[in-house]
């Protein structure tokens, strides 16, 4: 099990993490991510893709 962490000052609500990981990342009413839980083993590849795809490099998988 691992966890997604957000660099909040870096995040600008592009929402790509939610597109790639809808089960783990919801968006609030302003489009900022809400990480709802741990990243399951089966979702790890998608989580890594979300980390790479973030245009602000504001995600980490720990």
């Amino acid at each position: 099990m691992s966890r997604l962490r957000v660099d909040w000052p870096a995040c600008r609500a592009h929402g790509i993490c939610h597109e790639l990981l809808p089960d783990v990342v919801r968006l609030d009413e302003w489009g900022y991510p809400i990480v709802t839980g741990e990243v399951e083993e089966a979702d790890r590849a998608d989580a890594r893709a979300a980390v790479k795809a973030c245009p602000r490099l504001a995600l980490r998988l720990e």
Binding site: V6, W8, P9, R12, A13, D28, E29, W30, G31
Partner: protein, 433 residues
């Protein structure tokens, strides 16, 4: 960036909303059993009373603070021994930081301590620096308390001039450095202090690791509140038995409490753990609700305030942590909704403006609390939802603390919220009676 957020960021001119409680340095400092027992502004007077602190290695210091049950006094209440152990295990030479920035306008305990016994604070930092092999002690001074800033800077300068080894007997040398915090609420947050020390804007940033592991220039950094350091200094000067005689068996020692009440000067008390909260309150505010822990604190109902005991452990267990020891007692006639509305608007304005959930969520929460005060029918639901959305989503705990305050209003004042929804303010009705 969403256009909404961009607009908010552009509009964000911090300082537009004044604090409902102003910073004051005109304090009523009550004599206490230990830290505030004697007025010792200069080093000679301090040494006459307390002597030199013990020279301790890191194991000795850890044993001492563990036996005393020491927890941080900056608000989070983290066990000091664990922070010390983390800094010692970092593998690089640690740095020690005294945080006397006291960014909360309602708090005055660090100012009282600095005016009364600044060298206890500095002794604590010197003892820890010696134990950790640190060579630098950084002292962060408050940006909006000029008298306190001058007193603490003078104490550091006096120590550098008269005790070249930094107040230690064993030949180690310390370099003391002072910094002035920005006059804003979040400036004293640990990561914001590290930014200040690094010469960058004094604002919170994301920390991937706690500062005790990787802080100033990547070094393990033992950063603690001024009062925490004073307790360490006292332990090193007078030894464990004196501390164990104060407070309770489970929670030895004393704590500083700032009491803010209408019509009287802000008072700072040093009380033994286990003291009754009501004994610190002026008679004219008894029977009212109390905001415990300051602007990031929690509302206690009048009944809970009447029974509350100043034990950090018991208050934490009750879900009403003592925080940095601020007690705001507006009295039985005050409208809790109105005061919370003003505090929330101020806290929203004090956002560093860096994290989306805070930039957007705090003004939204302030609007929702205003709606609650005006009696809007759907406001309570909106407030509760926003309070659930804010925690854990920022570089610092400013949104968490603001949500804690507002959520506690929902729990402590359901009758008043219902009265506002009916278009009546119970507080003013009671006040008129």
């Amino acid at each position: 960036m969403s256009t909404d957020t961009a607009a908010r960021r552009d509009r964000l001119v911090q300082g537009a909303v004044t604090s409902p409680l102003e910073v004051t340095e005109d304090l009523d400092v009550r004599p206490g059993p230990a830290l505030l027992a004697a007025h010792l502004p200069d080093l000679a007077a301090h040494r006459r009373r307390h002597g030199m602190p013990a020279v301790l290695d890191v194991d000795g210091l850890a044993a001492l603070v563990s036996a005393a049950g020491m927890r941080g006094r900056g608000g989070a209440g983290f066990p000091f021994a664990r922070k010390l152990a983390a800094a010692a295990a970092g593998g690089r030479r640690p740095v020690v930081v005294v945080n006397a920035s006291e960014g909360e306008p309602a708090s005055a305990k660090d100012a009282a301590l600095v005016a009364t016994a600044p060298h206890l604070v500095l002794d604590g930092a010197a003892v820890a620096a010696r134990a950790l092999g640190a060579r630098e002690v950084h002292v962060v001074l408050p940006g909006d308390r000029p008298r306190t800033r001058a007193l603490l800077a003078a104490a550091v300068a006096e120590r550098v001039a008269t005790e070249p080894r930094g107040g230690l007997l064993d030949g180690s040398r310390l370099r003391w450095q002072t910094h002035i915090a920005e006059p804003r609420f979040v400036a004293g947050q640990a990561q914001a202090v590290l930014e200040l020390m690094a010469g960058r804007p004094n604002l919170p940033v994301t920390a991937w690791q706690p500062e005790a592991m990787a802080g100033h220039r990547g070094r393990p950094t033992l950063l603690s509140n001024a009062e925490t350091w004073a307790h360490v200094g006292l332990l090193a000067c007078e030894g464990l038995p004196a501390t164990l005689l104060r407070g309770t068996a489970e929670e030895p020692g004393t704590t500083l409490v700032t009491v803010v009440a209408p019509g009287v000067r802000t008072a700072v008390h040093e009380v033994e753990h286990g003291a009754a909260l009501r004994d610190l309150l002026p008679a004219h505010v008894l029977g009212g609700s109390v905001l415990l822990g300051g602007f990031h604190g929690t509302w206690l109902t009048a009944d809970a305030a009447a029974d509350a005991v100043l034990s950090a452990a018991r208050l934490r267990a009750a879900g009403t942590p003592i925080g940095a020891g601020v007690v705001i007692a507006p009295g039985p006639r005050a409208c809790l909704l109105g005061l919370t509305e003003r505090i929330t608007a101020y806290l929203a304005d004090q956002s560093a403006g860096r994290c989306g959930p805070c930039v957007n969520g705090l003004p939204a929460l302030a609007d929702a609390v205003a709606g609650l005060r005006r009696g809007q029918p759907d406001a309570a639901e909106r407030v509760a939802r926003l309070c659930g959305l804010l925690p854990g989503r920022g570089a610092c705990a400013h949104p968490d603390g603001t949500a804690r305050l507002v959520a506690s209003l929902l729990r402590a004042a359901p009758g008043e919220i219902a009265a506002h929804a009916r278009g009546r303010c119970e507080a003013s009705v009671r006040g008129a009676a």
